[in-house]
């Protein structure tokens, strides 16, 4: 697996966490992306965390403008993009300064030393050049004149200084490939494909990339390079790719529609960090109808219209847009139409921190509508799991004729990992309540098993009927002001959602089943919790874990499961929303562990928290 051309000492490693950081304009996302797909293609597991600056371009060279791409790659146990950095590639002082808090003690910093000039140092907010102070004393610092080296390599290419400067990311990439013994072919090919129609840029980037590699080979950086160990247990036969959570969600919708044999309709409006879901589907217009609506209200409204017409309908958004959909979600509840509402949660309230992640829309998903308005809520636990979670959301929507809120978040949506691409026939067939028989048809009769009403899509002969937001008479669906009927319908709507519990598999417990503590999680915390528990179990600390996909209704076995443990710990990237919900439902006290910093948990934080619990300390 190690290409022949490298002849330095090679150290085998399990996993490495590296972050490429530079100015917004420095092309770090590209570098990270290439590094990651190459690693994945070499058989490594990968998990990534792109970290954009705030929404708008900050002046070059400032902390606000730093863009980073973190990737954890390796051959075992890559659940997360990593807690802290083994390696940092810093293209300028601001990138260095912004990432100091994330460095492991003793980490390696590869600096673009050419950027460490007085003006940049100052812009980054340093009072003195960190290369001249003891600021970096605890780290291994490798200084590389990336700009000069790139210039040298490109000398004859006849590009402007600015254009040359733009190539330095490929130099950094080449150097990193050398350092980690990455396979260069895929990237070489990619460069050709990407820049093929601009020959001068193509050549410049190729040269810069080669120069980076050569810089390493020439021994100018270090003697020792790294390579990931060969995989002990292969991933299994199949087709694989790297996938982000948002792309997985979009594909999940495509897959669900196909497996339900329905057309797919998405009504959406751009919003960070959910926009990609819409954009991915827009790129695949042969497979679906996508409306970029005038706002989020129109987005869901159009989806409800499509659902009335017999489509698998969805709308995708994030916090502020989710709030705007409130009224229309209620119409979907009342008309009992199938609908998938994807909320890629971000840090709130209000505009909040649009590029940062959070799990704080759970209670809104559960209760954020006027009246008694129950619906189903499911969550995704990793980028690739977004695919499965989306199919599950669609399955519930179609089987129970209900809107379903799918909660993902910015961390999942933007993060990526390796995904085994399923064959379509591996995926579940989704059943619908589409009806065509006019015999005895009434729009609000109920299927006894699911309590779902029949789905008479517009266009079906003989099933003409009217629906709307006013209370309906049980059975006929006519408007009814009867008090008793309102009670009955309120109860039926709730009972239907409760019925979903019949489909929920027993909650899977991992780790030490006899432990005193159960760590419960939901959504994007799965990776870190699993990693923490794995670590602790290895270290002999008894702790168990369980992760929830279904948040409404909750798994029917959850109460009993929780009662089996002395204490339940619940880490959430909010102020304790699921904990509150579980207390309200089950009257069981829960140990909350909350963090509202717009950042995912780190596994070590969870580990430390578990270790500190009296039930564990003994």
């Amino acid at each position: 697996m190690i290409p022949q051309q490298f002849v330095h000492t090679i150290e085998e490693v399990d996993t490495v966490v590296i972050r490429f950081a530079g100015d917004s304009g420095d092309g770090m996302q590209l570098v990270g992306d290439q590094f990651t797909s190459t690693s994945a293609l070499m058989g490594d597991d990968v998990a990534t965390l792109p970290d954009y600056p705030s929404e708008i371009r900050a002046p070059a060279g400032t902390i606000g403008g730093v863009s980073g791409y973190q990737v954890c790659f390796g051959t075992s146990d890559v659940f997360t993009p990593g807690d802290s950095l083994d390696f940092l590639v810093a293209m300028n002082p601001a990138a260095l300064r912004a990432n100091m808090p994330f460095l492991k003690r003793g980490a390696t910093i590869i600096l673009n030393e050419d950027a460490f000039i007085a003006r940049n140092v100052e812009k980054a907010g340093y009072t003195a050049d960190p290369l001249t102070t003891d600021e970096l004393a605890n780290f291994r610092v490798l200084r590389v004149p990336m700009v000069k080296a790139t210039q040298e390599a490109l000398g004859a290419a006849g590009l402007s200084a600015k254009q040359v400067d733009r190539c330095k990311n490929f130099f950094a990439l080449g150097l990193s490939y050398w350092l980690f013994n990455r396979d260069v072919k895929q990237t070489q090919r990619w460069i050709i494909k990407k820049f093929g129609n601009k020959p001068d840029v193509l050549e410049a980037n190729q040269r810069a990339f080669e120069a980076g590699l050569q810089y390493g080979k020439d021994g100018k950086l270090v003697e020792r390079t790294y390579a990931t160990r060969a995989k002990v247990t292969p991933r299994g036969a199949g087709v694989y790719r790297q996938i982000s959570g948002n792309t997985a969600t979009a594909y999940g919708l495509l897959a669900a529609a196909r497996r339900a044999n329905l057309p797919l309709f998405l009504g959406s409006y751009p919003i960070t960090p959910a926009t990609d879901i819409m954009q991915v589907l827009q790129q695949n217009r042969e497979f679906c109808n996508v409306l970029q609506a005038e706002d989020e209200i129109a987005g869901i409204g159009s989806a409800i219209g499509a659902a009335f017409g017999g489509a698998l309908a969805a709308t995708s958004t994030s916090g502020p847009g989710f709030s705007l959909k409130t009224e229309f979600i209620n119409l979907a509840v009342m008309t009992e139409l199938p609908l998938v509402i994807v909320d890629v949660q971000r840090a709130g309230p209000s505009t909040g921190l649009p590029t940062k992640t959070e799990q704080s829309d759970l209670l809104q998903a559960l209760f954020g509508r006027h009246g008694e308005s129950p619906l189903a809520v499911v969550s995704a636990s990793s980028p690739r799991d977004c695919f499965d979670a989306t199919i599950e959301a669609a399955r519930i929507a179609l089987k129970y004729m209900t809107p379903v809120v799918l909660l993902t978040d910015g961390y999942l949506g933007n993060g990526s990992e390796v995904w085994r691409v399923p064959e379509l026939d591996e995926l579940p067939v989704l059943k619908t309540h589409l009806v065509t028989n006019p015999e005895g048809f009434k729009p609000y009769t109920r299927d006894p098993e699911t309590l779902a009403r029949p789905w008479a899509a517009v266009g079906t002969p003989g099933l003409e009927h009217r629906i709307g937001g006013l209370e309906k008479e049980d059975g006929s669906g006519n408007i009814s002001h009867s008090p008793a009927n309102h009670q009955r319908m309120t109860d039926l709507r709730a009972a239907k959602i409760e019925k979903i519990t019949q489909d929920i598999a027993p909650t899977e417990v991992y780790g030490d089943p006899n432990a005193p503590v159960l760590v419960l999680g939901w959504g994007s915390t799965r990776g870190v919790i699993e990693q923490a528990i794995g670590h602790l179990n290895k270290a002999g600390v008894p702790v168990a874990g369980a992760h929830l996909r279904h948040l409404n209704p909750l798994p029917p076995d959850l109460k009993a499961l929780m009662q089996r443990y002395k204490r339940v710990l619940l880490p959430e990237i909010n102020s304790g929303q699921l904990a509150y919900h579980l207390r309200g439902k089950y009257l069981i006290d829960i140990e909350q562990f909350n963090k509202v910093e717009g950042q995912p948990f780190r596994a070590d934080e969870i580990e430390a928290k578990i270790r500190s619990m009296p039930e564990i300390k003994g």
């Binding site: 196909r258 017409g309 017999g310 229309f328 003409e464 009217r466 709307g468």
Partner: protein, 351 residues
Amino acid sequence: MTVVPTNNLGLKRQDFLSTIDPKWCAGCGCYSVLRWLTGTFPTMGLPREKFAVISGIGCSSRTPYYVDTYGFHTVHGRAMTVATGLKLSRPDLSVWVMTGDGDALSIGGNHFIHMIRRNPNIKVILFNNQIYGLTKGQASPTTAKGKKTKSTPYGSIDPPIRPLSMAIAAGATFAARVADTDGQLMADVLQQAADHRGAAFVEVLLNCVIFNDGTFSHLTEKAVKQDTTVLLRDKEPLIFGNAKDRIVTIDGFRPQVQAHVPGGPLPQNALIHDVSVEDSSLAFLLSNMEHPDLPVPVGVFRRVEQTVYDDHYAPKGGDLTRVFRGSDAWVEDAAGHISLLGAQAAPASAA
């Protein structure tokens, strides 16, 4: 794929009336729209199940219950969004939106504009009674300035919106106006709307007998309506008056009324209507004409052909697995050996 009239199915107006008795006040103009709407449907050569009547909230928005087709009484102001989604997903349907002046122009103004500009093959009938009927009499965006209503006890201070001006500015490819009392014109206009390929907008001047009785009587009463309104005819001058003795002329951009000898020669500056001129300025000017300075035009203001939005929506399906794999997938065998997938495995050479 769009609405293709199948054949004459022998459906009558009555076949499009549901079994629910309309719950409008006696004398409400809504009855008239319901009548002519259900009169238009049978002419379209489509079976009942191919119709969807979508509404928001308001007295006018109750219409779907009374029409025996598919119907959706959605939420206030948002009917156009539901209609758009339905139509894009199901271009084979004939989708009609029933809305009120509050529903379409107050809370729903934005969806109104955006639906119109996209030009899907959806028909919109705006029941303009210049009042909020259902909530019992507050001012709407079309309520006349100075009008006392429940919410404007000292008289309304908001300059009213002209629905047709908004529609035309938003790019309406079909825009028309008719009074609830004028059955013949309503039949004609609805028929043209039905036949139009693209979004069709029809403003109905409608009497709310309870909360705004007589607000249009100066335009609808037999005695005066010939003098206060003018029927638009394509390529014809705007001649009106009981004795057809007045004509609208244009001086710069100022329309004016002049005396006219019936059958006599037209003044040089007579305004000649043209429904299909591409630039919408003439239609806009007509939509600005107001009583008492000018006669209020009724009939079709604008009817032009443009790309129909739903024509863009035609997914064909295909190989999803290819999509899922994207351009960077690879194959692993059971032993963990990796190879690239198909085309990507081409040799890396360009230099």
